[in-house]
C-alpha cells in the first residue's frame, strides 16, 4: 500500500484500484474542533478537483476536493456519529471516503510522506 499527499492537505492510501481519502493531521489541527462532516453518497463520480466533502469546524465550513478522479464506493459512516474522530485520528480511523480510481496516472504528481512533511514545514 502506498500513501500519497496533496497540497490541499489530503492523504490518499492506494490499495489496488481503491483509494482511501482523508485529511491530514496538519489539516485537522488547522481546522480545530470538527462538528460535522458531509460525505459523498456511494456511486457519486468525481473528476479530480471536484468538491467531494465538506468539513465543518466550530468556526467555519471547508471544502474537501477529490484528489483524483473516481467513483465513491464507500463513505466513513463513523464520522456521522463522531465527527471529532477527524480530530483524534485524522490519518487512520477519521478517513472520509473510498474511491474506485479512474486514472492511476493522476497519482503521479502527488507527494509522498517525506515531501509532504517538507511542504508543511515550509508553510
Amino acid at each position: 500500500m502506498s500513501r500519497y499527499f496533496t497540497e490541499e492537505h489530503e492523504w490518499i492510501d492506494v490499495e489496488g484500484e481503491i483509494a482511501t481519502v482523508g485529511i491530514t493531521d496538519y489539516a485537522q489541527e488547522q481546522l480545530g474542533d470538527i462538528v460535522f462532516v458531509e460525505l459523498p453518497a456511494e456511486g457519486t463520480t468525481f473528476d479530480k478537483g471536484d468538491d467531494a466533502a465538506v468539513v465543518e469546524s466550530v468556526k467555519a465550513a471547508s471544502d474537501v476536493y477529490a484528489p483524483i478522479s473516481g467513483e465513491v464506493v464507500e463513505s466513513n459512516g463513523a464520522l456521522e456519529d463522531e465527527p471529532a474522530l477527524v480530530n483524534s485520528d485524522a490519518e487512520e480511523d477519521g478517513w472520509f471516503f473510498k474511491l474506485r480510481i479512474a486514472d492511476t496516472s493522476e497519482l503521479e504528481g502527488l507527494m509522498n510522506e517525506a515531501a509532504y512533511k517538507k511542504f508543511v514545514a515550509a508553510l
Binding site: 490541499e8 492537505h9 489530503e10 485529511i23 489539516a27 481546522l31 480545530g32 474542533d33 462538528v35 460535522f36 458531509e38 465538506v54 468539513v55 465543518e56 469546524s57 466550530v58 468556526k59 467555519a60 465550513a61 471547508s62 471544502d63 474537501v64 476536493y65 456521522e80 465527527p83
Partner: protein
C-alpha cells in the same frame, strides 16, 4: 481544502498589534485579523475554551473595542440626541446597553454607556464602549452630532479585558476584594497595585463576569495575575462568538447593521419609556412607526434539526418562499447542537414556527426558538 466561510477579515489593510499581542503569542494563541488587529482566535481549541468559560472563568482581550469618554456642559442632552436611551436617568456607576442610530433608524453600532461619577478618566462624566470594527466610523458620526461644549476623548491607550464565567467573581475578588459587591450592570473605580481600573459587572457570554478598563502599559501585569489563578484561562475570539450566540446576544456587522432597526432586532428594551414618548433622538420616527405597526422582519433564534450547522448567509424558507436569512450560526458546544440567529419576516417569526434553511442546496429543518439558548447567569440582587 479551502475555507468557504471564515471569521471577519479586514482584507488589504495592515493589521495593528494590541497591547497584549506578545502575551497571546507566548501562550500559544493562533492569531487572525479581526477589526484591524491581530487577535487570538483560539489557544487550546474553541470547544475546550467555550466549556472552560461556562464552568470556570475565561479571560478575553477585547482591547480592540473603542473606549470613549464625554464631558462638558450639556453632555446628557447631547448624548440623548445621538442615543435612544435614557442618559439623564443614568445614575453614577450604572451602565446601560444602547446604540447609535442613523436618520432612518438603522443601527450604526451597539454599545455600552455608563456614568463615571467623575472619579475616573480625568473626571469625565460618561464612559462608552463601542465595537472595534466600527469605532472610527462611530467617532466620526458622534463628533458630527456633538455640540462644541461637549468634549469626546478616544482613550486609545486604554486596554480592555473581560473576565467571564461562574468563577469570575471569586477570581477577581482574589485580586480586588471590593469587586465582590458589584451587581450586574454596575461599575466602579478600583485600585490594584497602584493602578486605577474601571470595572463593570457585565459581558458578552451570558455568564457572570466583568469588563476591566486598564492603561495599556499595565495590562500585561493584570493578565498575568489573573491567569495565575486556578479558575482563569485565556479565551480566544472563536469561543467568544459561540458563547455570545448561545446567550442570544447579537453581533454587530452580522446580526445588526444599518439595514435593520431596533424594534425588529428585539432591542426595544434599550429605549426607555420617556425616550419613546419624548423622542428627540436620531432615528426616533422609525422606532415609533415600528412600535405602532410592527417591524417588517424580526431577529429570532433558530433551533436546527440534525448536526449540520447553518451559517451566516444561509437563506430561510417556507416552501417555495424565502422568508429570511441566517445572520449568525454554528455549532453550540453547551447545547450540543447547531443553533443560529437570523432575520425572518414578521408573519413567520413567532416562536415555534417551522422553517427550512438552505445549506449547500439542501433544506434542513429549523424552528423559531426563544433566546437565550443557554440561560443567562448574571449576578443580580440577592
Amino acid at each position: 481544502m479551502s475555507g468557504t466561510q471564515d471569521a471577519t477579515h479586514f482584507e488589504d489593510l495592515p493589521l495593528d498589534a494590541l497591547p497584549l499581542d506578545a502575551w497571546h503569542r507566548a501562550r500559544g494563541a493562533r492569531m487572525v485579523g479581526f477589526a484591524g488587529y491581530h487577535m487570538p482566535i483560539q489557544y487550546d481549541g474553541i470547544m475546550a475554551e467555550h466549556s472552560w468559560t461556562r464552568e470556570h472563568a475565561g479571560l478575553f482581550d477585547v482591547s480592540h473595542m473603542g473606549q470613549l469618554t464625554f464631558s462638558g456642559e450639556g453632555v446628557d442632552e447631547a448624548l440623548e440626541h445621538i442615543l435612544p436611551s435614557d442618559i439623564k436617568g443614568l445614575k453614577p456607576f450604572r451602565q446601560r446597553y444602547s446604540m447609535l442610530l442613523d436618520a432612518e433608524g438603522g443601527i450604526l453600532d451597539d454599545l455600552m454607556v455608563s456614568r463615571l461619577g467623575n472619579e475616573a478618566f480625568d473626571g469625565a462624566d460618561i464612559y462608552m464602549v463601542v465595537n472595534g470594527a466600527t469605532k472610527y466610523d462611530d467617532i466620526g458620526w458622534i463628533i458630527e452630532h456633538l455640540p462644541d461644549a461637549v468634549v469626546m476623548n478616544h482613550m486609545a491607550d486604554q486596554a480592555l479585558l473581560a473576565l467571564q464565567g461562574p468563577e469570575a467573581g471569586d477570581a477577581l475578588a482574589a485580586l480586588i476584594p471590593e469587586t465582590a459587591d458589584l451587581l450586574f450592570m454596575q461599575s466602579g473605580l478600583f485600585t490594584w497595585r497602584g493602578v486605577q481600573l474601571w470595572i463593570s459587572r457585565s459581558g458578552y457570554t451570558g455568564e457572570d463576569g466583568f469588563e476591566i478598563s486598564i492603561p495599556a502599559d499595565d495590562v500585561t501585569l493584570l493578565a498575568d495575575a489573573l491567569c495565575e489563578l486556578p479558575q482563569v484561562k485565556p479565551i480566544g475570539l472563536g469561543a467568544r462568538d459561540s458563547l455570545r450566540l448561545e446567550a442570544g446576544l447579537p453581533l454587530y456587522g452580522h446580526d445588526l447593521s444599518p439595514a435593520v432597526s431596533t424594534i425588529g432586532a428585539d432591542l426595544g428594551f434599550a429605549i426607555q419609556k420617556r425616550r419613546r414618548e419624548e423622542g428627540g433622538f436620531i432615528g426616533h420616527a422609525r422606532v415609533m412607526k415600528e412600535l405602532a405597526d410592527g417591524p417588517g422582519a424580526r431577529r429570532v433564534g433558530l433551533k436546527i434539526e440534525g448536526r449540520l450547522p447553518a451559517r451566516e448567509g444561509a437563506t430561510i424558507h417556507i416552501g417555495a418562499t424565502q422568508v429570511g436569512e441566517v445572520t449568525s450560526g454554528g455549532f453550540a458546544p453547551s447545547v450540543g447542537a447547531p443553533i443560529a440567529m437570523g432575520w425572518v419576516s414578521l408573519p413567520h417569526s413567532a416562536q415555534g414556527t417551522a422553517l427550512e434553511i438552505e445549506v449547500r442546496g439542501k433544506r434542513i429543518a429549523a424552528v423559531v426558538a426563544p433566546m437565550p439558548f443557554v440561560p443567562h447567569r448574571y449576578r443580580r440582587k440577592a
